[in-house]
């Protein structure tokens, strides 16, 4: 279970507004996060991954404390090791798809399996700039999975996939996430996109 209570000021030209999120995420669940554009969904995921620090609050994953403003505790992203699928993918321009996965894990059978799930076998030797948008997005998902994360954070991770491909992918994802005993938080704009995947939801405004 992940226990979250965070406060973070977001500065914009509109002025400063405070982002407040409180939630308890059950072990193994898939939580859909939604809310208007610019509400702070990406910022929320970044705070959980340890890329941005909240001003106040605490984050506790299982019995491990990740962040607590009161005691100035703040684990690094490396220590949290959350699988993160970035909204802009953040793929490494110097690596082929295969190298991306090898960078994440040494487990070759897992790599083969992931390539198959993502239908990316034929593109293992391609670098990101030689991949189509949808292929890049799938690679970003596979890279995050290759870590065997206990917590998977997905930011608009299906936006470049067509309905058919997405549904097949979700079927496979569910199996593998169960295997990893991972909890998932997924930011999504489309109600339909996470149908049959998310089992709970969280609104951010």
């Amino acid at each position: 279970m992940i226990d979250i209570e965070i406060y973070k000021k977001i500065k914009t030209y509109q002025g400063v507004k405070e982002l407040v999120v409180k939630d308890k995420i059950p072990q193994g669940s898939v939580t859909k996060v939604y809310g208007p554009s610019g509400a702070g969904k990406t910022t929320f995921l970044r705070m959980i991954a340890g890329l941005v620090s909240p001003e106040r609050g605490r984050i506790k994953a299982g019995d491990q404390l990740w962040f607590d403003a009161a005691v100035k505790l703040n684990l690094s992203p490396q220590e949290r090791r959350a699988g993160f699928v970035f909204q802009d993918y953040a793929l490494f321009p110097n690596m082929t798809a295969m190298e991306h996965l090898r960078y994440a894990t040494a487990d070759q059978p897992l790599i083969e399996r992931l390539l198959q799930i993502g239908k990316m076998e034929a593109f293992a030797g391609h670098k990101p700039q030689q991949l189509s948008g949808g292929q890049q997005q799938r690679l970003a998902i596979l890279r995050a999975l290759a870590l065997r994360p206990k917590l998977l954070l997905m930011d608009e991770a299906f936006s470049a996939l067509d309905d058919e491909l997405r549904e097949e992918l979700i079927t496979d994802l569910k199996v593998i996430l169960k295997e990893f005993e991972a909890s998932t938080i997924i930011v999504s704009h489309h109600a339909q996109e996470t149908l049959g995947f998310a089992d709970r939801s969280l609104k951010i405004e």
Partner: protein, 223 residues
Amino acid sequence: MEWTPIWLSLKLAAITTIILLILSIPLAYWLSRRSSLFKVFIEAILTMPLVLPPSVLGFYLLISFSPNGFPGHWLQEHFNLSLVFSFQGLVLASVIYSLPFMVSPLKSALAHLPLSLTEASYTMGKSKLETFFRVQLPNIQSSLWTAIVLTFAHTLGEFGVVLMIGGRLEGSTKVASIAIYDAVDNNQYHEANLYSMVLFAITFVIVILVFIFNRNAARGPLE
């Protein structure tokens, strides 16, 4: 024409470039991270040796490392290391003199890299060190090779500092640039031309090879 000076020059340039790589990579990394006024200050300091005429820089180095001076005396005493009139001294001087040409381009290139690449690597549990060597550095390859080529060439051509603290010892401090310089001074234009040609030819081949290699490495497998 003798080959020793040419060989010495290439050796000096290669050693200097390697030492500079080892020094500059962490330095450039440190400077490229969120810049404070302190870092700006350090960066400006690194540029300063360039402003002095090389022979004057050589003069200041000479004073610092002369056996009378404290640092020179200490090194001599404890390590039996003399930095004047020795190959080691030339290496030190070249390192100081060429440092900004290695550090600055690397620092700029690192600063231009999107932050999200390192962030992605950190979330994957990779240390800063591993991220640097496997993500950041490979993605500024072209700048890295450029910096290497400039440093190498610049060290080959250096003669002001070398002239001051080297002392023209056959086989240890009489490098090619000094040999050419002496030949010109001595009206031996033919010999000067010969040396220049050889130095040119060797360097040209090295530079071309580096550039071609760099060009192929930057390309993807499908291009």
